[in-house]
Amino acid sequence: MSSVLKSRWFTFGLLALGLALLPFLVDAGLGRSWVRLLDLALLYVMLALGLNIVVGYAGLLDLGYVAFYALGAYVYAWLASPHFGLHLPFWAILPLGAALAGLFGVLLGAPTLRLRGDYLAIVTLGFGEIIRIFMNNLNAPVNLTNGPQGINLIDPVRLGSFSLSQPHELFGYTFTGVHLTYYLFLLLTLAVIFISMRLEDSRIGRAWVAIREDETAAAATGINTRNLKLLAFAMGATFGGLAGGLFASFQGFISPESFNLMESIMILCMIVLGGMGHIPGVIFGALLLTLLPEALRYTGDWQRNLFGQIYVDPADLRMLLFGMALVAVMLYRPAGMFPSTRRRREFADAKG
């Protein structure tokens, strides 16, 4: 046991060092825009892990997840921008936004408890769109959201006079805004990963799996399916709300168009592509789907290197290749890139 522990500590140490140095390596090798993308990718890891609780653990197909992301973002914008003239500190707003999103998760989850599968999908999709439409239109009669114009000049994360939007000199190195944001996001992502891991192995996690596999049987064994499903919605929504608040502070501007249906679908793609219900798979899926479309921007350079000239406009090719990648991955790894052992077994059973 102790030797296993030791080698584990060693790997963790190496991993921690790698993660700490990553933004500098990326900055040096690829440029600052990739550090920014790394920040965004971490944001999507949080979102994907949140949705994973609902879809992956509890098996509830939710297509309106982006609503909670939007709620978190708007709560942050309301409490830390010139819109209402409020400038509360982030450590007060982030938990508030996350909690409010969690509450909405329960509110929107409650009417859907009887629904299964694709009916649930369309109802959650409806809730997602309803929230977005309200955000888009609540500039009148009372200007709550500023409508389609969005809310601008949202405060960055700031502690005292230490703001994450400005570069800082530390230990002789210059840490720019995107670098510092990376560490904040990384910290919160690790917390989300930790909570997800603990949930997976808990009584609650096993009850969710039971509901996912057979709800009737789960209820028969004494599992309170109603409360547990609501808990899954609430947990997922809380992570969504947290990510939303971070997004608002990171971008400094939010408008309803950032929270459309395509966003929900993309987050769902992340977890299915990576491997539903399996944390490393979900993380991988989120990273892949955030970074791949950006990497595909370079198809112009690839064409030039390969053929000496550009045949197809990279902007036209990018999404086509992305679509093909989605299909190809699913055809060759139908359970995702890194499926959990349980799903791999299920798949083998189904095939046989």
């Binding site: 920014r36 888009n136 389609p148 114009q149 601008n152 939007s165 501007f253 168009e257 970074l291 902007a315």
Partner: protein, 383 residues
């Protein structure tokens, strides 16, 4: 866990290998990178490509004429990026352009993506001129680097609302907007101005920028018998809207903003477009010195002008004009010259106020007659 970590490292390495290209200095010429951002995919891709073409035409002309800054020959190179009209993607590509070392950016197309991106350009002191973002909020952020060559929603909306009531004699007005930052912003300003001029707004209806069916809201509007219907939105919605007004037998005039004043509108609405009215900031192209020449050059190279390419073209020239006066492509040096701009472009005389908005910008009103947009009159906007 570690096995998967290895997987990430492999992917990261593949990304590094694939994307390591950096702009290279080419021969004896200094290469200066100019950024252009607009949606090149998605529902507005046709407008995005139009902007890109406008910038490219100006850039090719400047290169062909030869540009010398600080005693050195300079070649301009265009870095065009797709923001898919998405605010998040907009900030990503903005940072990408900054990384690649662009010295100035023409873009973005939509207000919703221009505003978040303007923060990144401002943080990195890269001048930005948007050809088509009209939301008041864009230049209200107080960034020194943010400029635009088109009148904002308040300027254009005031002209439109006044025109509807005083010149067209509309007493009862119905207003529709597409719930985008552009459509809603413009429609609100039109409503304000129309009311101020003594008009009555009898209906305020809404649609989306994806809709093609307006029968329900038009039927409801028809019941209130307005003299004029104003639509804040783009031509793909305006064209079917005009057709459906005819289909419902509505007699009300149609008035639109710059999003509707396009050749595409006539193409899409066909004979029903006859009599439709719309405005566009700036002066009519054919009335401008060099306007018809621009049109001929553009259409020979890229086909029909969609909408904002003349503004994109002017924006590019304004940027280079400032560089020439500063005799440098260094943003720190030529940014100081931008406020002093006084440039005669194909869309009008371009000067900036303290915020970066265009001063005394003109707005021209057009009407479709005999299947063509005919100029009605040009109005100087308030400020």
């Amino acid at each position: 866990m570690t096995g998967h970590t290895l997987g990430w490292v492999v992917v990261a390495a593949a990304l590094v290998a694939g994307c390591g290209d950096k702009p290279q200095q080419n021969g004896d010429n200094d290469v200066v990178l100019i950024g252009q951002v607009s949606p090149l995919t998605g529902p507005q891709a046709h407008l995005g490509k139009d902007n890109e073409n406008g910038v490219r035409l100006a850039l090719d002309e400047i290169n062909a004429a030869g540009l010398t800054l600080g005693g050195k020959k300079v070649m301009l190179e265009l870095k065009s990026e797709d923001d898919a009209a998405d605010p998040k993607t907009a900030t990503t590509v903005a940072q990408k352009l900054v990384d690649e070392g662009v010295v100035g950016v023409i873009g973005h197309l939509n207000s919703g993506s221009t505003i978040p991106a303007s923060k990144i350009y401002s943080d990195n002191a890269i001048p930005q001129i948007s050809p088509s973002a009209t939301a008041v909020a864009y230049t209200a952020s107080g960034f020194q680097t943010a400029y635009r060559v088109m009148t904002n929603d308040a300027q254009q909306g005031t002209v439109l609302g006044n025109f509807a009531v005083t010149k067209l004699g509309a007493k009862k007005i119905a207003i529709i907007d597409d719930r985008t930052a552009y459509g809603q912003g413009l429609a609100d300003e039109v409503e304000k101005a129309a009311k101020a001029a003594g008009g009555e707004v009898v209906a305020r209806e809404y649609t989306s920028d994806r809709s093609t069916d307006f029968m329900a809201i038009l039927t409801s509007i028809k019941g209130k018998a307005p003299d004029l219907v104003f639509f804040g939105g783009m031509d793909p919605q305006a064209a079917p809207m005009i057709k459906q007004m005819k289909q419902l037998g509505m007699q009300a005039k149609f008035l639109g903003g710059d999003g509707a004043q396009t050749p595409k509108l006539i193409e899409l609405a066909g004979a029903d477009a006859e009599g439709a009215l719309a405005s566009n900031p700036g002066l009519p192209l054919d009335a401008m010195p060099g306007g018809s020449a621009f049109k001929a050059k553009f259409e020979a190279k890229y086909g029909k002008i969609q909408n904002y390419s003349p503004y994109a073209y002017d924006a590019m020239h304004v940027l280079i004009d400032a560089m020439k006066r500063a005799d440098s492509s260094d943003p720190a040096k030529y940014l100081a010259e931008l406020p002093k701009t006084d440039y005669q472009g194909v869309t009008g005389r371009i000067r900036f106020d303290a915020k970066g908005d265009i001063t005394g910008g003109a707005v021209t009103l057009y009407q479709v007659k005999d299947g063509k947009w005919q100029t009605l009159e040009t109005v100087q906007s308030g400020n």
